[in-house]
């Protein structure tokens, strides 16, 4: 089960994750990429969810899957993958919630400035304490913003964490989740699939 990055980063990464899922399928794995409540094709309004709800939704989805489960999380997905039961975890380039929130808030400040309005990270933080805040197209509840501000990756075991780059604990590729225009990277997708399959073997799952 892949746990996608959060917010816009999911859209920038989806295509490459799907290509990785196809490679895993060719290798005998069944792969699933759930839409988080309030994201992508989910009908639930985003301002009604928070990280706790996402963690529970993933736990429910995981519980309905037959057979040994590997959870593969990317970026902010690693903040919500630990409540689910699994045989193993795999995380790619995990990021803190504070870092994601800072970028979302900055995008709002930059957009406001272009529109001639003056906001700051401080003024947005204050507004977010009492009412939902629209950040880069995402309407986030006070609870979601508070949880994001302090969210860190949590322990899980057995866990393999990989970064982008070269070396033994890395997959080669580019940080597609940062890119202004969505792209895809077939080589990176293949590297993701290969690394997950190897981790599965290491854990005695396949």
């Amino acid at each position: 089960m892949f746990v996608p990055p959060l917010f816009e980063e999911a859209n920038r990464s989806r295509r490459t994750l799907v290509v990785a899922m196809r490679a895993l399928a060719a290798d005998g794995f069944a792969a699933v990429l759930p839409d988080l409540p309030g994201q992508n094709e989910s009908l639930i309004p985003l301002d009604q969810v928070d990280l706790g709800i996402w963690q529970n939704a993933l736990a429910e989805t995981a519980a309905a899957i037959d057979g040994p489960l590997i959870i593969a999380s990317v970026r902010g997905g690693a903040l919500i993958d630990h409540r689910a039961q699994a045989a193993a975890w795999w995380r790619l380039a995990p990021v803190s919630g504070a870092s994601l929130l800072r970028t979302l808030m900055r995008a709002r400040v930059a957009a406001d400035r272009e529109a001639g309005a003056t906001t700051s990270l401080e003024s947005l933080q204050a507004d977010a304490a009492t009412a939902p805040l629209l950040l880069a197209g995402n309407r986030l509840s006070p609870r979601m913003i508070a949880q994001l501000g302090s969210a860190e990756v949590q322990p899980a075991a057995p866990l393999r964490t990989v970064t982008l780059g070269s070396g033994t604990d890395a997959v080669a590729g580019t940080p597609l989740w940062l890119r202004a225009e969505p792209g895809e990277d077939a080589a990176m997708a293949a590297a993701i699939a290969t690394d997950i399959a190897a981790w599965s073997k290491t854990c005695g799952i396949s």
Binding site: A107, L178, E181
Partner: protein, 88 residues
Amino acid sequence: MTEPDTVDATLRALLADVLGLGEDRAAALTQDSGLFGELPEFDSMAVATVLTEMEDRLGIIIDDDEIDGEIFESYGNLLAFSLRKIAG
């Protein structure tokens, strides 16, 4: 991370990652190359992403009130700002 050449390389790689420039276009950026307003990929979300990545990769903290339009006017301005921040 204090050598100007290292900062320059880090900044080019970062812009390549965020704007999808590719190594060649990133390497071809000059001091006068325009960024915000000239590169269509450079929207407000890209500005925000660049700032957060600069903090992570250069080990600096950027305050709201340090950011004005001039920083993103040209590659040279962004590099000069980064070097000033690193020097403290």
